[in-house]
Point group: D2
Chain length 363, copies 4
């Protein structure tokens, strides 16, 4: 399939652009018999909706979802689940000026090089808004994973130079919901919010780190040698706009260590094999081992800033400058949290079916 | 396709295990008309061969490749290129003891959980030896990429806490070849070698960082939104055994920065669009922009060490201990260099065809 | 991808059911720069719309299409083209009675066996109505093929025992449009219409044969050994509801022949290689040879008939009987014509890109 | 994946050519725990081996298979099963003359058009000899299907104008083994053999029909709407060299019938749903219904004949003539029987896993 579809048995195809008529997704391969309604998806979309706090874009979108197919009498029926969100608050005026001038840090130049004819309004399909499709797919995937008790939780662990303290794994979900930054450490959350507001006040933006944790994933998930679980998860996370790095377990810290320091040793707890430490992040040799899967991703500062920047005018082939107006997030980390969860959930739903843990046809 | 095949238009399927009869690969989708012979592949295999220095495993394998198909009169003919390497120096005695005891840091436990019936000898198909398949595929991909002037170079930038200084991009290939560590900074290389030998003398192993650079990739490569270039590259690198993190451009450092500090501004040099800095690592919005693509991957210390470690006996379901004998690398970074190049080259060959830059049928 | 997506570089994902909210398709991998508007798709949908003559179902649907994405300033922009048709004239009353009774000749029993939870209304996603998705995909594919002068024409050559005479290839398109049966031989068309009306008057239905011809396909299209052109075309045609046989060129007649009678000999006409006969139907060894590609498919009588039939009650697990009411086509051949064209066009668009004849990114 | 791989969960990749060094296949996605040895594959290869009777090619090949990977202690271990057959009796002299002259009815011209650089010796990878790969894949698939009691049997039902009488389904396997034609009706078999020998004596060849039957396939197999069971089977059969038509159940006869004559009515036999007739050939709406699946394929006469034929010299671009020497089958039907079984078994193994009837990881 072409690049807007992902997944082999549980597939998600997304469509739409920032300023076009609508955005949406088709979820195929979801087994029949899963309870699903529009509210299940709406709840997830609301988490990534803009305009909900001082630290997000002011674009006002309700992002109301409509399910077009795939649900019969309140349950999936094994046919594709199509869902759509119409764009309502489109204001393309701010982009007319940017038509031939690729924005630094944005995908414009690559898109123009590749497709020649490019919808420059709001970044077109290069916009973060297209993750509505991810979240629709993720909402279905999460409901499916719930049936086997798997949970995916993302939270912010760093904004700029502000780092959160370690929070007990079991508390992260609850604690991170309590503030707009989506950080489980309340004191760090305050400082993070300040850092974001400061960047905003300067017409600037700031980066951060988002951690995603998978709970209750059984051992044995992941398909060597090219469809390894960590490989597929990395691809899914790295494919989210603004993500520039992914690590699992102790990640880059392992590069500085010796095996005697970091090999996770096995032991038995209540008839279950566990490891005393989890430097591996729950995946060894590309296959899950029954420990929590822990990944972190580096999120760069939102490239749209109102400061004057140098660029080129592609039509005139001369150097030029731009000031980006539009409505932008001074830090995308809080809103990327549900997208990271969705991206991971989609990969897991696919791998759970591919590994024989979820029946491909019906629950 | 199942998990041992990768690539959509340029596909590589690999097979074989550490102590089985043979390993190899089938490369499908290579256009006809590419000059190719066994020596082209052998040269690459020799770079990852064990037993070539003090800092690699002592297993003695010539890894002689035989091309079985796909080449006619010295050129590819558009049919699948199958190539095979027979295992010669197999010594499974050391593994008998490990049969039911998963080695800490190794994939054994995941493989056993997934497949039940597991070839434990030498790590089976979880062994690093299976990257012979990657390198066969990579050798063909590199030759194909050469026809459009694209080059992929990997080198070691860190071993344990020893970091190399920045070396001019153009010198990396030549300089990194001059020492067994494959580091382009000669002074750092010496210290890295020492660090590896020290770990070895302690029966331990050590991690590091390998950087891979793509030269001369045109703008416009990468397929949003799920088959982004950086996403596919991350997956390929993360799927190499022992890799636990991947970053592109400034990667995790971007998390600590603001956009005004790190947005790459565009300018024109000799009719070509370039960026003044390259924090993005040559990919924006998942599509290449014509700048060098720079990725780093975190390599954990080889998990096989001779020190006594705790594990469990899966048959008896009781806690146990192991000492791993066998022949192992005290640091896998030097030998992972050609594998990283191969993994990246395979992704690029595929994407170049998918983007219309290389004809899918013939050169 | 899961089963509702087809195509590797040019992909079509369809969704929706007979009595659900909407049906539609997402077309991914269409190069940017193709002129496309809703009317282009509407024209094709109108060809398969019910209620247009005495010999089709009386369900009254305008099948008005809305393009949701992928078109910018009148041209495709390389992003997925989503298009949707809302169901308007849904009347599920007639199906309540059939809920647990699989209709003979219909897919109900297989669907129930596979998915357990089944949308029985109007045949759910087993309905012929789902070919709206095929036609949306086909409309885009046809426009794309037009840019390289390729044309796909289907027409009816047999209804029951009434066979059309051979009509000159160049006249088939025009002549077959002149009657509701879509047969290029006007005298046969009259008899076919009679045969259909007679079946209708008896509460019965009748089968037939639809031929599809590809004009101006260059030599070299088709990917051995598993993605052969004739293999992929057969799959596409056989996957249309009610199709039970596919043949290419002289097809089953070749089974009765000798090579000396039927081998197509090559000759040269105006610097072009041609064959004196075309028993092969334009494909040899799975690759096109530059001659017209000619396929025929056997269409069974529509299984929905109003006559009393034996079946089983799956809930009570006892034998039972049904009379199918609803609104049905006494012969599906005329309305399957645009679907066959679409199915073939989708395969060709994909293979033309995969063969390097159409640029995958932009026109 | 590229065109030499087929299957989504159970994948077969084949390689090799008629006169190259070797042919073979890599079977990926076979669950661990299946008993498998070289003899299991050899038995199947022997069925398609040439030189076994008067009515097959005289090329003398033992087609000795070697398993390179994927089997550990007599059982599959979930890793790819690579198997190879070296070419032994290669005689390319006869083909030197045909280098630039495409043989009528053969794939040469399409291959040259597509790939430019073409291995013309023995038809290269367009040769029937490449079905060694199919049979290797099929042998593994059959063993896997045996574990769930599914059996695939093919036999010859027609040669030229000689048709076999109907033979009871349960006797076909045994009876068709008793003669070199592989026809279950002994009297027809005699006449078929005569017809083949007569064609041979005239330097000609003759076509026929091969029927393939799947026994014990459960209801619910097949993935609408593009991966229907009959669609995928048609593609697999049509992709075998020389096949020009495929039908399922009553196939083309249904085109001449009415629904009241041919709808299969349901009834209950020992708690199982069955149909009184099987005009559908066991598949409705693309999904199996638990009845035997019956397909027929039209096989054209082998295009290689020794009679003088017209063709063109592609180098000189002038009309020319050829006499094909080499060693050829006067009728390919008998040797295509195991290939048809293999092609069908590969599709079924894949669909059984995709439908949740066979665990993807282990038995």
């Amino acid at each position: 399939m072409a690049g807007n579809t992902t997944g082999k048995m549980f597939s998600v195809t997304t469509f739409g652009s920032s300023h076009g008529r609508a955005l949406g997704a088709v979820v195929d391969g979801c087994p029949a018999g899963l309870e699903l309604n529009e509210e299940d998806i709406q709840v997830e979309l609301n988490k990534r909706r803009p305009g909900t706090s001082d630290i997000t874009s002011s674009r006002s979108e309700q992002d109301q979802v409509e399910i077009l197919s795939g649900v019969f009498e309140g349950k999936t029926d094994g046919t594709p689940i199509a869902a759509v969100v119409y764009n309502k608050d489109v204001d393309s005026a701010a982009y007319e000026d940017l038509k031939n001038k690729p924005r630094p840090g944005h995908g414009d130049y690559g898109w123009i090089s590749r497709y020649k004819h490019y919808d420059y309004r709001g970044g077109g399909r290069g916009s973060g808004r297209i993750t509505i499709g991810h979240v629709i797919g993720g909402a279905v995937a999460k409901k499916l994973l719930n049936t086997v008790n798997i949970k995916v939780i993302a939270h912010v662990t760093q904004i700029g130079k502000v780092k959160s303290h370690k929070v007990n794994l079991d508390l992260i979900e609850e604690y991170s919901k309590r503030n707009p930054v989506r950080c489980a450490d309340p004191q760090a959350a305050n400082k993070m919010e300040e850092a974001i507001l400061q960047a905003k006040s300067l017409g600037d933006s700031i980066g951060g780190i988002v951690e995603t944790i998978i709970f209750n994933l059984p051992a044995g998930i992941g398909e060597p040698v090219f469809d390894k679980l960590d490989g597929d998860l990395s691809r899914a996370l790295m494919s989210i706009g603004s993500v520039k790095g992914v690590e699992i377990g102790f990640g880059f810290d392992l590069a500085e260590s010796t095996a005697s320091e970091t090999n996770d040793e096995f032991y038995i707890e209540k008839d279950t094999i566990k490891t005393t430490t989890n430097t591996s992040g729950g995946v060894l040799g590309g296959i899950s081992i029954g420990m929590p899967v822990v990944m972190r991703m580096a999120v760069k500062p939102t490239p749209s800033i109102s400061l004057l920047q140098k660029t080129v005018d592609l039509e005139r082939m001369e150097e030029s400058k731009i000031e980006i107006k539009g409505r932008h997030d001074p830090c995308i980390c809080p809103r990327i949290v549900p997208v990271a969860e969705s991206a991971v959930a989609i990969v897991l739903a696919d791998h759970m079916i591919r590994s024989g843990f979820i029946n491909p046809c019906h629950l």
